[in-house]
């Protein structure tokens, strides 16, 4: 009887364990805009608004609990922060709110969500009346109150959060302009890192398609990488693109091209793929080492080439020596290549090759041959 009970308990445990271990298989705690706009695909993942100074806007963030347990989830609003390399990020909760983070009032600071469910948290945005024209950034942060935090006593203690960008554009004299400021290249094992930097000189962010290429002296493209990235207003952004080094190596330059929508009347996310303006930058020429296999092949070919050159030089030098230092010998009756060669102390093959004689090496009487001067001369 006890065995049956244990067996049943074991079966139940097996049925439950996989559900627990795959807790983050399809996303843990997170959120997204509750009311995305049909005409702007970017609003499926971030909040995008165009609001007048003093205007009020209501919306909601949908908070998901895709874990297997009921969770209490902290929701907050903070300013945006420019991360290293110019990437969009969010300020910490402890930092003073000076921009969009202070404009957002959430209806609740936390929400309890059942497993596999979501809840909408309404919020209101109150735009100050004295705000400047252009884009202002903020974030709505979502953090599990039971989030895993390391308990180490020596080292980095980590906590985790998700955030959703809030981009609010104040209408007025919108400026959309960017340009490359530099492009750097560096070798990285068997690949090449191309790192362009772009400065957005405008007052709104620009989703910019950046393409980098490695181009040879004759214009062939060894490798290309591209991506579209948001570049925040009045800031610089850079990315490290990892390009495959050309197999045979050689002299190359890196080129970067940026395409963006320069139309000041379109909003963030409304003009995906409509990149009407472009900028380019090119690095100086760089010598790229070949791959190891190519290096062996190239080394072998180079050796052959050097050997051929040495042989050619030697042959030419001998030809000159024969022409200027050797003397003329007129073939007499009974002479053969071997007898003439022996008489002048050189191998018969050398005599034949020096006089361009071909097999069967018959000599006609009276033929003039070049032979080394005799020792007495």
């Amino acid at each position: 009887m006890k065995k049956i009970a244990f067996l049943l308990v074991f079966m139940l445990a097996v049925a439950i364990i996989p559900a627990v271990t795959s807790a983050v298989e399809y996303g843990g705690i997170g959120g997204r805009p509750a009311n995305p706009r049909a005409d702007n695909p970017r609003t499926q993942s971030i909040f995008v608004y165009e609001l007048e100074p003093g205007q009020e806007q209501t919306d909601a963030v949908r908070v998901f609990n895709n874990t297997e347990e009921t969770r209490t989830i902290k929701v907050g609003a903070v300013d945006s922060a420019l991360a290293s390399d110019g990437a969009f990020s969010c300020a910490q909760e402890l930092e003073d709110k000076k921009d969009v983070g202070s404009w957002i009032q959430l209806s609740s600071a936390s929400v309890t969500v059942a497993p596999g469910k979501s809840k909408d948290v309404p919020f209101t945005i109150n735009v100050p009346s004295n705000v400047s024209v252009g884009e202002h950034g903020g974030c709505i942060t979502i953090q599990d109150t039971q989030s895993t935090e390391s308990t180490t006593q020596n080292g980095v203690v980590l906590s985790f959060r998700s955030a959703i960008r809030v981009a609010i554009t104040i209408p007025g004299e919108i400026v959309k302009d960017l340009n490359f400021t530099q492009i750097n290249t560096s070798a990285d094992k068997d690949s090449y890192i191309v790192r362009p930097t772009i400065e957005n000189k405008g007052n709104v962010s620009l989703d910019t398609n950046v393409t980098v290429r490695l181009i040879s002296l004759i214009g062939t493209v060894a490798d290309t990488k591209e991506g579209t990235y948001p570049i925040l207003p009045n800031s610089s952004a850079s990315w490290s693109f990892q390009l495959s080094g050309p197999f045979w190596g050689g002299i190359y330059r890196a080129e970067a091209e940026a395409k963006f929508d320069g139309n000041v009347n379109t909003q963030l996310g409304e003009s995906a793929g409509n990149e009407s303006s472009n900028r380019t930058i090119s690095s100086g020429y760089i010598l790229i080492a070949p791959s190891p296999i190519a290096a062996v092949i190239e080394g072998f070919v180079a050796l052959l080439l050097v050997a051929a050159i040495i042989l050619g030089v030697k042959k030419r030098s001998h030809k000159r020596h024969v022409k200027h230092r050797w003397q003329t010998y007129v073939v007499k009756s009974g002479d053969t290549v071997k007898t003439v060669a022996n008489a002048h102390n050189i191998p018969w093959k050398k005599l034949a090759s020096s006089n361009k004689l071909k097999a069967p090496y018959d000599l006609e009487v009276g033929k003039k041959l070049r032979v080394p001067p005799s020792a007495s001369e």
Binding site: M11, R42, D85, T148, V157, F160, A163, Y229
Partner: protein, 217 residues
């Protein structure tokens, strides 16, 4: 004996409840509707079997007390503690995300009686970070690996941040995805950490609180 019988009956009841819905739905003669719920963008430290690591760590190499400024190193992310980004949201277009790392306080011992900085503001010094302490994070030394099947889920849509000495409260970019990345799951390991410890920092165990933020951007 009675207790065992009761236990078995209770377990059979639980098992029965678990099995009944499957039995009932098998008898329904209608169109089957299958809903796949969208997931959400999230970050976590998972092990090789994608289980949450209960207490992730990024320990630094041990150092002895020194009258000179000294550097200790560490690694964030390893084969058993993978720094995952999971983006199962599957939005049709426009999705991009960034993974950033920011400190929320200084290196402190238990009780916060001793501390040193991660973002030395001193500008002119012989060795950067020696006056008060400075942490350099190097994601470019890390390795990005995808953990998904679709052809769109590739490392080509991801760029690593450059090596950065922490300054002010500026977050360090670890990974950036290109716009249009719909579904992506992958991780980074071996992010380099290097901390300058000021001269004559008292011997103790110090921890630095940091927040990893994955942002839909």
């Amino acid at each position: 004996m009675n207790n065992i019988k009761r236990t078995i009956i209770a377990l059979l009841l639980v098992a029965g409840v678990m099995l009944v819905p499957a039995t009932v739905s098998a008898q329904v003669n209608s169109n089957v509707t299958q809903t796949i719920n969208t997931g959400t963008l999230t970050t976590a430290i998972l092990d090789g079997s994608r289980n949450v690591v209960a207490s992730p760590s990024a320990a630094m190499t041990a150092a002895n007390f020194s009258f000179n400024c000294q550097a200790v190193t560490g690694t964030l992310g390893s084969a058993s503690q993978r720094l995952y980004v999971i983006n199962p949201s599957g939005t049709t277009a426009g999705q991009t995300w960034t993974l950033t790392l920011a400190a929320t306080g200084n290196w402190e011992n238990t009780g916060a009686t001793r501390s040193y900085s991660y973002n030395d503001p001193t500008v002119a010094e012989a060795t950067a970070g020696c006056a008060n302490g400075q942490l350099t994070v190097n994601p470019s030394a890390g390795t990005v690996t995808t953990d998904c099947a679709s052809t769109a889920c590739t490392t080509a849509v991801i760029t690593k941040g450059g090596s950065t000495a922490m300054s002010g409260v500026t977050p360090v970019t670890i990974l950036t995805s290109a716009v249009g990345t719909t579904v992506w799951r992958g991780y980074i390991t071996n992010i380099g950490l290097s901390q300058q410890i000021p001269a004559e920092q008292p011997a103790d165990s110090y921890t630095l609180p940091m927040t990893l933020t994955v942002t839909a951007a």
